[in-house]
């Protein structure tokens, strides 16, 4: 009896491990391959730098510095988490869109607008009690971002305008809006370059280490909430159904248009919060060059995390670690390897992910999930067919 039970449990465990492998194999392999490519790039760069002996171990030195800078001690670890937090929120914003069959390239714009909302309210409330200033600033940031997601959602639902096109355009509008706000109404008089005032009491409290702000916690909570929404609620079922098969969703009496608007608004909210925790937790003020890549890195995080909240957390941690460790890598290799190497690695990870068919064939992988579902959304996005028709 007990033996049978034990073998049953064993079988289930094996089944779970198999599922986990099926889901995680491709991202993991992509990461390893990208690190190898990064190493080749390092070696190649040595060849074109004159007057130095060729050092075969340089990639190892670089990666070990990257590791030390991101995980070697409490401060590096906190730095990693601090870099990862906005990527978690941004990754959720893009991943939620993927689940509904939407390609939300607009995370960048929603991120910027969210930051603008948070910094505006934060400055206004910089002397109020933190218990009032912080929630209201976050709320403003979330709502600004949500509004920036709602617009393309509505345009798609009403007219079929494709979200890829509208969100890209809104990214530019957002960037220009920030530049205008920082140099205009929010500009601190007397400063040499455009910069806003400090958010004062609206700044997020430090919870861990030297600068581990409360936004890290917020990002984790958001991941739990999104996971709960997607897999535990009926609304999440609707979102996933619309994403997987819009015709079946209509057949089931769901309202794909409504779901599109709702999902884009929620995605905007998440990206807006992402911008908010950067401005309230890290910079405490805003300049015209604020947070230029988080929104785009979020797309990579969502892809690497397979649009799954848990996966997104791990993907964001990886990207956060590379961001956090990059400066030390540059210092320890005496400026021979610029911090931008991590951009090369990140981009290469994405390339391998998207080229999953090639990898699966070359490595004879079986039982590995057929690529990243989200890439289907991307390809579908470009070949037309709007969700709502």
């Amino acid at each position: 009896m007990t033996e049978k039970r034990a073998s049953q449990v064993g079988g289930r465990l094996r089944g779970m491990l198999r599922d986990l492998w099926a889901a995680a194999a491709l991202p993991l392999i992509s990461i390893v391959l990208a690190l190898i490519v990064g190493a080749v790039v390092i070696l190649a760069s040595e060849l074109i730098v004159p007057g130095r002996p060729f050092d075969v171990t340089l990639p190892l030195a670089a990666y070990s510095a990257l590791f030390t800078g991101s995980l070697g001690g409490l401060d590096p670890i906190v730095n990693t988490m601090r870099s990862a937090a906005p990527l978690v929120l941004g990754g959720l914003a893009v991943g939620l869109g993927f689940k509904a069959g939407l390609f939300n390239i607009g995370a960048q714009g929603q991120f910027l607008l969210g930051a603008l909302g948070a910094v505006t309210v934060g400055i206004a409330l910089n002397e109020a009690s933190p218990f009032i200033a912080i929630p209201l600033s976050l709320l403003a940031g979330g709502l600004f971002g949500a509004a920036w997601g709602f617009v393309p959602g509505l345009l798609k639902a009403v007219s079929g305008a494709h979200e890829v096109v509208t969100t890209i355009m809104l990214n530019y509008v957002a960037g220009s809006t920030i530049a205008w706000a920082v140099s205009g109404p929010l500009d601190q008089p007397g400063s040499p370059s455009p910069i806003t005032a400090q958010v004062g009491n609206a700044a997020l409290p430090v919870l861990i280490g030297r600068n581990g702000h409360a936004g890290i916690l917020l990002a984790l909570v958001a991941a739990v909430v999104v996971g709960w929404l997607l897999y535990r609620t009926t609304r999440g079922f609707e979102i996933r159904t619309v994403g997987a098969n819009p015709d079946a969703a209509r057949y089931a009496g769901m309202q794909p248009r409504l779901i599109v608007v709702l999902t884009m608004s929620m995605a905007g909210l998440l990206a807006g919060l992402s911008g908010s925790i950067v401005v309230l937790g890290v910079t405490h003020h805003m300049t015209a060059s604020f947070g230029t890549t988080v929104g785009f890195d979020s797309i990579a995080v969502a892809l690497l995390g397979r649009s799954n909240p848990v996966g997104i957390i791990f993907a964001a941690l990886l990207f956060g670690a590379m961001r956090a460790g990059a400066p030390l890598m540059q210092i320890q290799t005496l400026n021979l390897i610029p911090a931008e190497l991590v951009d090369v690695v990140q981009a290469t990870i994405l390339l391998f992910l998207v080229a999953h068919a090639v990898i699966r064939r070359l490595l004879h992988l079986r039982g590995v999930a057929a690529g990243v579902e989200a890439t289907d959304t991307i390809t579908k996005s470009y070949s037309g067919e709007a969700v709502t028709h």
Binding site: R232, T233, F237, N245, A248, R250, Y251, A252
Partner: protein, 506 residues
Amino acid sequence: MRGITKRYPGVLANDSIDFDIRPGEIHALLGENGAGKTTLMNILYGLAVPDAGELLLDGQPVQIKSPHDAIRRGISMVHQHFMLVPVLSVADNILLGEEPMAGPIFLDQGGAHRRIRDLGSRFGWKVDPDQKVGSLSVGWQQRVEILKALYRNARILVLDEPTAVLTPQETAEIFSVLRSLRQEGYAIIFISHKLYEVLEIADRITVIRRGKVIGTRRPAETNEADLAEMMVGREVQLTVDRGESHPGDVVLRIRGLEVKDDRGQEAVRGIDLEVKAGEIVGVAGVAGNGQDELVEAIVGLRQPSGGHIELDGRDMTHAGARERHRLGVGFVPADRHRFGMVLSFPLTDNFILTDYYEPPFARGILRNDEAIEERAERGIKNYDIRTPSANVTGATLSGGNQQKVIVAREFEGEQRLLVLDQPTRGLDVGSIEFIHRQAIIKRNAGSAILLVSAELDEVLELSDRIVVMFRGAIVAVRDGRTADKNEIGRLMATGAEGRESGTPAA
């Protein structure tokens, strides 16, 4: 093929199967969905590698590693879903991958076109190599597929359910083509689960069930009932005993319904129709005569442009799909992959696709996984759905089992109206028998049933009343028990009677 064995996780798809084909022969491969026909052919065509067994070609053991390999050795496959590029011309489709070169750069188009025309004329086909494949009828597309195979010098032709998409006339034509191919010495493997077709065309019939060869027969020494029993493993009633119907009140009343198709053309032109509780009304018609639009308007997926739809006396012309479902409308859609299921979702989610928002499957805004699981287990048991578990995705099931999932879902509860659109298309006899019997049970329990089918036999067999649709209008109404098959067929093809007597009220 000798001793072919192929194992997939959880299933033994082929269990030491022996199968052979000779030149100048049509060998039919008969079996239920999921019996292993497709697996066997995939092995022959290099799409799957057998775990055991060997392939012999002209007596020599061969290994076929890819479709390319198979084609090189003269084995060609005509798939059920055509592998054609609609925007390319007939010639381009045939030449794809085998481009004839005149010199190093230029295509030898003239020569290739001539060869294609010659090939076609062997069967009396007037082939226009420049025509776009997308503008051809389904029957002609299939001929292009066959030409493609012949152009590649195939000696063995595998046809996977070639008649599933054809009208009876097109089927007759393709049969004559197959006969002339046989005459010329081609070896043809004909996969089907339509018994009468197999008996008509094949020289030998091999039946497989659950991965094993049950037996090989010649048409002369067997009959439909015998073959059906071999396929299913028990005696099968090929015609359902529909019994007496006792129609009650009118459930569905349609008056002057007009519906436009996707291109804005009038597809349904002023239809009047009533379906009573406890009766099955069959809609016969050649595909594309407005049936799809009629069905979509009835279930709330398409807005009518005129007329009224009433359910139990309540106007629901403009009600949404959700509201109609709540009022007791069940719908088995013709395109089960597009509408009926989410293939990437587990069966559990597919079982509750139309009821997910209601208790017991929802508690407030939360899903109730226990109730969902329980619902799926019950459906799998009651409808004999062959699946390793309720948690595998819909895509892993065979067509027949997918359809059973949909039927199990839509037949649940006390339906007022069931709309069955091609409910058994592409299914095997066992599944067809099962679904037909369920429909009769629902009728006897007092549901009104509207059956739309391109299979005239199905309509004749089940319907208490038959209406014939032609160019968006109902051109004739007949009693289901006394209707004459030839007359209905003529009405479907010409709509002749309707034009003389106008649209009769149902």
